[in-house]
């Protein structure tokens, strides 16, 4: 009969079970570990109004960006008023109740597809955040760049928030923006699981100069409890992942975990983009008295994949549901991008960003499920080859879902109004 100790001191022999490939630098000096499962994650924002979810506030004085007037948008793009009205009419057969009106894609110059070619149309202008407060992390170590945190810390670098913070998808109090709800519901229902391991070498977890924080994936699903929250204390096995893993050197001070050096990581983004690459990433997390963990992990993320993620989720649907013209998102991200990996003179392909994390105490096991993890190590070397799962059961091409059975195909040369005389009556 095996005996399983709830101990926190483990030797490197347990790592040997994983095979030599796993361990980078076997650490026999780890004295404590705390392990968690992420029960909520959303881009770090700041909601500047006192009520509601879209109300005017210090962050967005005019409130969340309103829904575009799509008829005007189409007319500005060169369609006739009659055509614009026809395209927007839900009753018309070229508009799918599920995938939207594909012709909406073609409003660039010469009817270019604006989803894949956002610069083919002038910047529609996404109103940015004009407030001075934001949640996030000081990524460049410069207090003079960036926002002030809600607790008064200066230098928070979060241009992602600046660019997109007034957009309906992201704007709102904690856990209430439509984007946050959408993706976290999916995660909490089992779409994916992220676990966090914190390990340190000192005697006091709350004050330790040699700490490492590891973010890993797990195939074990979270379980909801009787009141709809995620239940604590479940067990999760680390599932080695070729892409999604993040290891941060850090220290703790009065229970607050702060990175001591930047790291380049890739995590699972709670979005359609899925890949969250973060350069010069850092963590700022707090171990609370009730055992939970809350805080931020942030870095510079490539901005174009963010845009592409929305496009590949069907531009036609995203635009209407989230009240945005997608090219505006492209322009806004481009304009606010603030980091170049190749150095100060290079193209700013990355934008400062942070993910706000809430995590609950959980048991995290080695990939074989036999032992609790006792240190923060990398498992990439033993990860299986990752095949990207298709996001949907239908095919998205250039931001729309083509319908091969339709007589009329959307495109730059599409004839909008049907030829019959009866069409006139539908415009009423």
């Amino acid at each position: 009969m095996k005996r399983y100790l709830i101990a926190t001191i483990v030797t490197a022999t347990s790592l040997a079970l994983l095979g030599s490939a796993a361990a980078q630098r076997p650490s026999s000096s780890v004295k404590w570990t705390k392990t968690y499962v992420v029960e909520w994650n959303e881009p770090a924002m700041y909601y500047g109004a006192k009520t509601g979810v879209i109300d005017p506030g210090t962050d967005c004085p005019n409130g969340t960006n309103p829904s575009p007037d799509w008829i005007k948008v189409l007319v500005d793009a060169g369609y006739t008023l009659e055509e614009a009205k026809w395209l927007r009419n839900p009753a018309n057969p070229t508009r799918s109740p599920v995938h939207g009106q594909n012709q909406m894609a073609f409003r660039g110059k010469d009817r270019a597809n604006v989803y894949v070619n956002p610069t083919s149309v002038a910047d529609p202008g996404l109103a940015p955040v004009s407030g001075t407060i934001a949640e996030g992390i000081d990524l460049d170590g410069d207090e003079s760049t960036g926002f002030t945190s809600p607790t008064g810390e200066k230098g928070i670098d979060n241009n992602f928030y600046k660019a997109l913070g007034c957009w309906k998808t992201y704007r709102g109090p904690h856990r209430l923006s439509s984007g946050a709800l959408n993706f976290n519901d999916a995660m909490r229902d089992g779409a994916w699981t992220t676990v966090i391991v914190v390990a340190g070498e000192g005697p006091d977890p709350m004050n330790d100069d040699n700490v490492k924080v590891g973010f890993y994936m797990s195939k074990d699903k979270m379980v909801k409890d009787g009141v709809g929250n995620i239940a604590r204390d479940y067990t999760f096995r680390i599932a080695p992942h070729a892409k999604y893993e993040g290891i941060f050197p850090a220290r703790t001070s009065n229970g607050r975990i702060l990175s001591t050096a930047p790291a380049d990581v890739m995590l699972r983004d709670p979005s359609y983009t899925q890949d969250l690459e973060m350069l010069r990433a850092r963590v700022d997390l707090e171990m609370k008295p009730d055992g939970s963990l809350t805080g931020y992990v942030g870095g510079y993320r490539p901005w174009e994949p963010v845009y592409k993620g929305w496009v590949n989720a069907r531009g036609t649907v995203i635009e209407v549901l989230t009240w945005v013209q997608l090219p505006a998102v492209y322009y806004a991200l481009q304009r606010n991008a603030d980091y170049s990996p190749t150095g100060p003179g290079g193209e700013k392909t990355h934008i400062s960003f942070a993910l706000r994390i809430d995590a609950l105490p959980a048991f995290v096991m080695s990939p074989d499920g036999n032992n609790e993890v006792a240190s923060v190590e990398s498992y990439k070397a033993i990860a299986p080859k990752q095949t990207d799962k298709p996001m949907y059961p239908f095919l998205v091409v250039d931001g729309i879902v083509p319908d091969p059975t339709s007589k009329v195909q959307a495109g730059p040369n599409a004839v909008i109004l049907p030829p019959s005389a009866n069409s006139a009556s539908q415009l009423r």
């Binding site: 095996k2 399983y4 409890d225 009787g226 604590r232 479940y234 067990t235 048991f363 499920g369």
Partner: protein
């Protein structure tokens, strides 16, 4: 249109009396009359029903129905089942279930294996083929051979059905349904016959004995081999009986029997509808509930049957099994890729055997809190066979200080100091107070309302502390194994032991101790003793002539011939 006048009035109010008055006058039967008598009617339980269907027709037969609730009498459902009958809605459920089972058994796919012959004309009746089918399954379902009239009745149904629907198999389905609905299947009819060796005495007939063995050991109807031992009369001999017992106790099917027994004795039937307040115990859900029951059954069967350990170790051994949901309630890691994994609680967990598993702790508590009194009552009832009387109706609790501060212990200590309450609460509450480090879901907690919980307990002159102290106390208490002996016996015979059984039970308890408290041996001991088959003739039982109750293949001998086939 009639008025239900005077006749009706009598009928409605006194109708009940009319039915039974005729029976009251019959004198009790005497063996010298040469007649059989039915000594008990025990309703088949849900697990017995399911096991029987799986045994007879195969495990692929799906059973989905609601079974009538059972009633606990004298600490056991098995005793209650001897007192229950069916309600209309219960019968409805059985009807639908019987139809569904027959449909599956005689379905096109199944009939090649389930029907032993082919009809002469598939669109019409075929008595010969139907008879083969019915006698074979009838014997398994009624747990004895069918009488000729029973066979004829079903043949009529089969023929009528075949003619009406133009399909032999439709008729077969109907006749099988009528077997599955018969009281001879739904109830265990225990029959006594005059004992050829002692003409002044009754003995249980061979098939009744076979059923008792089979339901005790395997929680199911007798299999072919056991039926054969009954048919040949071997079961009436000590050698024949021993042979069957040894066969059955070494079979993996004994685990089913053990599970059924302990589900009854440990009162684990409360799990189907256990409710907890989700705001206070959010981790509780149906999966946790089902897992808790399974954990306790696994632990018990592993310790007592697989490992043949000392029964008393159940209260002190911390070797158990857990799964992922339970691990979260126990706040321990689940180190396995399978569903269940063995786990041993360390001393520091304060756990002690089955008393501190989630099952016992959560069943005998309130939706939102623990309950020392409830737990104390159940510890006594389940493990020492001591039933607590109901509290007096007019007890006035206003004398007891209601308290929202401090611990439950203080409130209960008040009970134990109060005159009208102490006599019951003194032997009960300390047992539950020792378990107070576990809340209403079974989670470890050492503080309540900011105060440390004191788990010291005093029972008369015995003192112990915490669950481990309680476990040791039960381990050392001779009432505990004696209670198990009582329960195995009562469960097997389906009645409350009476004064005449007292000496026997004492002897069995001694043998159990001398043998090292091994449960499988206890079952064999009891089942092979004459007391297990002792006949208790109920009052007013009518007599039946042996000839009238003739079972087709058996020799229908009268006692005067002294036949012992």
């Amino acid at each position: 249109m009639a008025g239900l006048a005077a006749v009706g009035a009598l009928t409605l109010v006194g109708g009940f009396a009319l039915v039974t008055s005729s029976a009251a006058q019959t004198p009790p039967p005497k063996p010298s009359d040469g007649l059989t008598t039915k000594v008990a009617l025990r309703r088949v339980t849900e697990t017995q029903y399911r096991h029987t269907i799986a045994d007879v027709f195969g495990p692929e037969i799906k059973i989905s129905a609601r079974f009538e609730p059972e009633q606990r009498v004298d600490m056991l459902l098995a005793i209650g089942s001897a007192q229950l009958s069916l309600t209309s809605s219960g019968f409805e459920q059985y009807f639908a279930l019987a139809t569904s089972i027959s449909d599956q058994v005689v379905s096109e796919k199944q009939r090649t294996t389930s029907v032993p012959c082919k009809p002469a004309d598939p669109a019409g009746a075929d008595d010969a083929c139907a008879r083969r089918f019915l006698t074979a399954y009838g014997e398994r379902l009624f747990r004895r051979p069918l009488t000729e009239s029973e066979v004829l009745a079903r043949l009529r149904t089969a023929a009528a059905g075949a003619k009406q629907s133009g399909d032999f198999y439709a008729g077969l389905k109907l006749s099988l349904t009528s077997l599955l609905l018969a009281p001879e299947f739904l109830f265990r009819v225990e029959t006594a016959e005059p004992d050829p060796a002692n003409p002044q005495e009754f003995r249980l007939d061979a098939y009744t004995k076979a059923s008792r063995l089979s339901f005790l050991l395997w929680d199911s109807a007798p299999d072919q081999e056991l039926l054969a031992a009954a048919r040949s009369g071997a079961i009436h001999t000590q050698d024949g009986l021993t042979k069957q017992l040894n066969r059955m106790i070494s079979s993996p099917r004994f685990e089913d029997g053990a599970r059924a027994f302990f589900t009854d004795m440990l009162q684990l039937d409360g799990f189907e509808n256990l409710v907890k307040d989700p705001t206070i115990y959010p981790k509780f859900n149906q999966t946790v509930s089902d897992s808790a029951k399974e954990q306790t059954l696994r632990t018990t069967v592993d310790l007592l049957v697989d490992k043949r350990r000392d029964y008393r170790d159940l209260f002190t051994s911390n070797e158990t099994f857990i799964n992922r949901p339970l691990a979260s309630v126990y706040q321990i890691p689940f180190a396995s890729s399978g569903d269940w994994a063995p786990y041993t609680f360390p001393l520091s967990s304060e756990r002690s055997g089955i008393l501190t598993e989630v099952a016992f702790l959560s069943l005998f508590a309130h939706p939102g809190s623990s309950s020392p009194t409830r737990r104390g009552i159940k510890v006594r009832e389940i493990f020492t066979c001591q039933v607590t009387p109901d509290p007096p109706a007019d007890v006035d609790f206003s004398k007891v200080q209601a308290s929202t501060t401090g611990t439950v212990r203080e409130r209960l200590l008040n009970h134990m100091g109060t005159a009208g309450c102490a006599s019951c609460h003194r032997p009960i509450d300390p047992l539950g107070l020792a378990l107070e480090h576990f809340d209403g879901l079974g989670q470890l907690r050492t503080m309540e309302n900011g105060a440390a919980i004191d788990v010291n307990a005093e029972l008369g002159s015995v003192k112990f502390e915490g669950a481990q102290g309680l476990g040791q106390y039960l381990h050392d208490n001779p009432r505990v194994p004696a209670c198990l002996v009582r329960n195995v016996f009562a469960y097997g015979v389906g009645r409350k032991p009476d004064a005449q059984d007292a000496d026997y039970l004492r002897g069995q308890a001694t043998a159990f101790a001398n043998d090292g408290y091994r449960f499988p041996d206890l079952v064999v001991q009891i089942a092979s003793s004459p007391q297990f088959f002792k006949v208790a003739v109920p009052n007013g039982a009518e007599r039946t002539s042996l000839a009238a109750a003739a079972t087709a293949p058996l020799k229908t001998s009268k006692t005067s011939e002294g036949a012992n086939p």
